[in-house]
Amino acid sequence: MTTAHVTPQDTAVSHLHPRGSFVIEDHRLPTGKEEVWRFTPIGQMEDFFDQMLERASMPITLEAGPDKAWSWLKPGAFPRGSVLVPVDRPAAIAASEDQARHVVIDGAHADPIRLSIHGDGLDPSAAHLVIEAKPASSATVVLTHTGLARFIGNVEIRVGQAASLTVVTIQDWDRGSVHLGQHEALVDEGATYRHIAVSLGGDLVRLQNNVSYAGSGGDAELLGVYFADAGQHLEHRLFIDHNHPKGVSHVDYRGALQGERAESVWVGDVLIRPAAVGIETYEANKNLVLTDGCRVHAVPNLEIETGEILGAGHSASTGRFDDEQLFYLKSRGITETEARHLVVRGFFSAILARIGLDDVAATLMSRIDKELAFDKEN
């Protein structure tokens, strides 16, 4: 294991991405008034940060993958800390964990490397995971979260030159769970990085999924699907820092909401720095509201500091069940419940095709079936 002095690159600062710091106290306790916390139900997690001082380390289990690629990193041990500079207090707490899990990917892995985190209670816990894809390697890492937990989880990702890495994070917690954390990737020259967030369970999930580049021509795709049920708050905040030329970034998140106080937050932010000539970026978020009483916050942002780019765009939309659509399906003998199934499955189908992973599609579809089964026949 090599130890290197960590010199994180300059962090860009705006109201959407405050300066990062490893020092927990540098991040003031969120009150809910801050721009980055204004959508989060801080009231639901009043004692959360106090309790975190007495937290346990959350174990991460290697379910499938080579043992030799699975080790530990102390703070300051490269590459730990070279990519992820905590942008908020929870991320700083998880980053201060004494030991971090370290996955090293070398060569081509045909089968997904599977990691799991399973909570068995509400005692606070944290984990810091480092995924290091060596140059020209290729792999898919699937991280599944289940059980009951009050948890902060960081994922720090290095994608080496010309490497190809897909990271899938599935939030399938039991109700009552809280999950915060920062996923931060550094994409090197000619590398391809895909991050796929699937958020279904828990009372409160708030992930900060960020990307920056270590060389030109990096390609990042951030996909997400979520299904918020009554009383659930699912929040995804994305920050893509185009700090090198000729990079590509595509963001596409889709979510459905159902029930009283089901709430989703999607904040997409793309910064195009003066150095980032010839880049291309597009971010999109679509929401399907299935019942009354849901709340959707969709906020796309673009900060453009050079005009010499191939393209930059964004879109965000929120739609409801379309009565005419349901009438059309029902007029063919299809029941109300099944018609709703078809519409919701159809809504997610385009993004599932892009994700292209059968187990992600199966997890989401079974959840949709479970959620919609509560609908009454009409």
Partner: protein
Amino acid sequence: MESRGLEIEDLHVSVETETGPKPILKGVDLVVRPGEVHAIMGPNGSGKSTLAYSLAGHPKYTITSGSVRLDGQELVGLSVDARARAGLFLAMQYPVEVQGVSVANFLRTAKTAIDGQAPPLRGWVKKVNASLAQMQLDDEFASRSVNEGFSGGEKKRNEIVQLDLLNPKYAVLDETDSGLDIDALRVVSEGVNRYTAPGDRGLLLITHYTRILRYIKPDFVHVFVDGHVVAEGDSTLAESLEETGYEKWVKAVE
């Protein structure tokens, strides 16, 4: 034994407006027996489409009185899907897009719902492809999302593919001829004629123009003005409408 047919009796229908309920259908009486082709013709705003959507159970329309029986079964009060399962089909003037749901999936789901069991897989795909081919749609059409990005003609042909595969006891075609060029009109008409050919199905063809009646011969023609039938006859009535238009009936109700 109950009498067979689609029997519409003294049907009154209102829609909700800002100023309260507005009556659109004002006592419609019409019977379609198995094997019969009925055409309903009338000017814009006469309530033809309201009749079609009311029969199918669209929530926008409230049936205030009257009855609709399908082979003796009362449809009023049934849900939209229960009416379809009872044997009623509505080919829509403006078929609706369903993003991400393929034509193949939609057809199989509908067939399963109507029959109460899934169609046998192998034979079914063949049947779907044959039906598409008859409507001059290729196999690839089945993998497209329902009505998404379809041309006007493709939407109407897709309606007739459903008519063919679901083979309902009674079908209502709401201005299926609108927006079709002459070739598409012929293809669609041939599809409808294949549906009625066995002689045990009932068809209610709603149209504004006589053009489609050159291809689909009605046994009965009903002139529809101001929410009810004002004149009835055989196919010669349609021919005379071509010359006189609806004016004399419209004037009579004013």
